[in-house]
């Protein structure tokens, strides 16, 4: 049995990736042995536009949903302490199951397409964001909370005006980790026909190194931009950290 056969059922993914293309007379986009083909890159840069937007959409929605759910779970577990071990275990399982397996496990339920990708990637981020939010809340010094209580803050005021602001560095650290990993993993969404930059790394019509390298570069760049934006958001929301450094 050949080690690889077309994945015809899963949409545009196909299998001529490893077919020998031996003619030297062909322009380099038709050969798979060229490391990087600048001519092709110049002429075909536009074909990365739509996949980039799709990728961005999947990742942004997954992180947004993941954050909303994980944050709500953390607030709940902060109040209802006995929920902490089971929540850590459940989010741990969702984090551990490899995304590619998770995609296909969800197929009978949510089908092919980007909904499945978003759900699975959101589930993947839960553990990181949940754990970091809990860590941030746990790191708030008891003396600060005592002082707030002494000033007449209610429990809710302490949470929203004392604990959560002080937990922002950890929460954002979690978001950074989650977004960088999610952006990389979202390339696998190509296997469930969800689009994204994975389509330019592995597909029937253009699977040669130049395309893989450009798509990978866009993925890494996107991760850097997300990381930078979140770092910037942390600076904006925690002005006291800068004061401490100065």
């Amino acid at each position: 049995m050949s080690s690889w056969a077309p994945l015809a059922a899963a949409g545009e993914v196909g299998g001529d990736f490893f077919r020998e293309r031996d003619s030297d007379s062909l322009p380099c986009q038709a050969r798979s042995d060229e490391v990087f083909c600048f001519n092709w890159a110049r002429e075909n840069l536009d074909r990365f536009g739509t996949p980039t937007v799709q990728h961005l959409e999947i990742v942004a929605l997954a992180i947004l949903i993941g954050f909303a759910v994980a944050f709500a779970l953390a607030l709940l577990a902060h109040r209802v302490r006995w929920l902490q071990p089971p929540l850590l275990a459940v989010t741990g399982v969702l984090y551990t199951v490899p995304s590619i397996a998770f995609f296909f496990l969800m197929l009978p339920v949510t089908g092919l397409g980007k909904d499945t990708a978003i759900v699975v990637l959101a589930a993947y981020t839960l553990q990181i964001i949940y754990r970091n939010t809990m860590l941030g809340l746990a790191n708030v010094p008891a003396s600060v909370k005592d002082a707030a209580r002494g000033m007449g803050f209610t429990r809710r005021q302490i949470l929203w005006r004392i604990e959560l602001p002080l937990a922002i560095p950890e929460i954002i650290a979690g978001l950074r980790l989650a977004s960088v990993s999610t952006i990389a993993i979202a390339t696998l969404a190509v296997f469930i026909s969800a689009g994204g930059l994975g389509t330019q790394m592995y597909g029937a019509n253009l699977t040669f190194p130049t395309s893989i390298i450009i798509a990978a570069a866009i993925v890494i760049l996107m991760a850097l931009v997300f990381d930078g934006l979140l770092l910037f958001a942390k600076r904006l929301t925690t002005p006291w950290q800068k004061a401490r450094l100065a």
């Binding site: 049995m1 080690s3 690889w4 056969a5 077309p6 994945l7 015809a8 059922a9 899963a10 990736f17 490893f18 798979s32 490391v35 741990g92 399982v93 984090y95 551990t96 199951v97 490899p98 995304s99 590619i100 397996a101 998770f102 995609f103 296909f104 496990l105 197929l107 009978p108 339920v109 950074r176 980790l177 960088v180 990993s181 952006i183 990389a184 993993i185 390339t187 696998l188 190509v190 296997f191 930059l197 994975g198 790394m201 592995y202 699977t207 040669f208 190194p209 893989i212 390298i213 798509a215 990978a216 993925v219 890494i220 991760a223 850097l224 990381d227």
Partner: protein
């Protein structure tokens, strides 16, 4: 939405794991079944273990050393964070297209994915050890190597193992797409859908999920065994 059709497809997948099934393309030859599932499982475990071992050998000493010296934070943490952005699909596809297929080429590629978490966590774990403790060890006449081995590493075990677990998860997950580079792991069931059918695809996904959970569980147990009793008391 009824839950019955999904449940029925999982039933077919479990049958696929234990009994060979007819395939559309092999001309009557049956596919799947326990022996093939076992073979692919063993292959995936093998490539995962090899890649994790390679990543550990290369990275752990470096991370521990940098943490001990307190140098190279940018390298250890920065490279660690940047490494998470490597798209695994591109890595495997590029290795297959440019370097070659097979175990010897895929193992180092997978090891690359294990390097970031191990490096960052080894560095941070050692760095977090109380400097006074290290000074005390030095005062007792321990050499720098002894300090790393007998003081810093034991105290950093929870963090270091956290990195190893992260690396193992990343590696076993990516080993699933290793069939793209000619290493037949459980991903073969998942990716060769026209050979193994819907049942095979789901069977592969179930087995990969179980394997990742088993590896994570095993490493969590190992972490508990490696953590010294004194440290367990402190956290309890």
């Amino acid at each position: 939405m009824s839950l019955l059709p999904p449940l029925a497809s999982f039933g077919g997948a479990i049958e696929f794991i234990f009994t060979p099934q007819e395939s559309n393309v092999t001309g009557g030859e049956k596919v799947g079944g326990f022996s093939q599932a076992l073979e692919l499982t063993v292959k995936q475990l093998e490539v995962t273990a090899l890649a994790l071992a390679l990543a550990l050998i290369v990275t752990l000493p470096l991370g521990l050393y940098l943490g001990h010296r307190g140098k190279g934070e940018l390298l250890a943490v920065g490279l660690g964070n940047a490494g998470r952005a490597i798209p695994e699909l591109a890595l495997i596809a590029l290795v297959a297209a440019l370097i070659g297929v097979g175990l010897a080429n895929v193992t180092p590629a997978l090891a690359i994915l294990g390097i970031p978490p191990i490096l960052t966590n080894a560095f941070v774990g050692v760095r977090q050890v109380d400097r006074a403790t290290v000074d005390a060890a030095r005062g007792m006449g321990m050499s720098e190597l002894e300090i790393i081995r007998r003081v810093e590493l034991p105290m950093a075990i929870p963090t270091v193992m956290g990195g190893v677990r992260g690396a193992a998860i990343a590696i076993v997950a990516t080993a699933t797409i290793a069939p793209l580079a000619g290493v037949e792991t459980l991903g073969d069931f998942i990716l060769n859908r026209n050979v193994y059918g819907e049942d095979g695809l789901l069977a592969g996904a179930i087995l990969v999920a179980l394997m990742a959970l088993a590896i994570e569980g095993g490493l969590a147990l190992l972490q508990r065994r490696l953590t010294s009793d004194g440290l367990k008391l402190k956290t309890a």
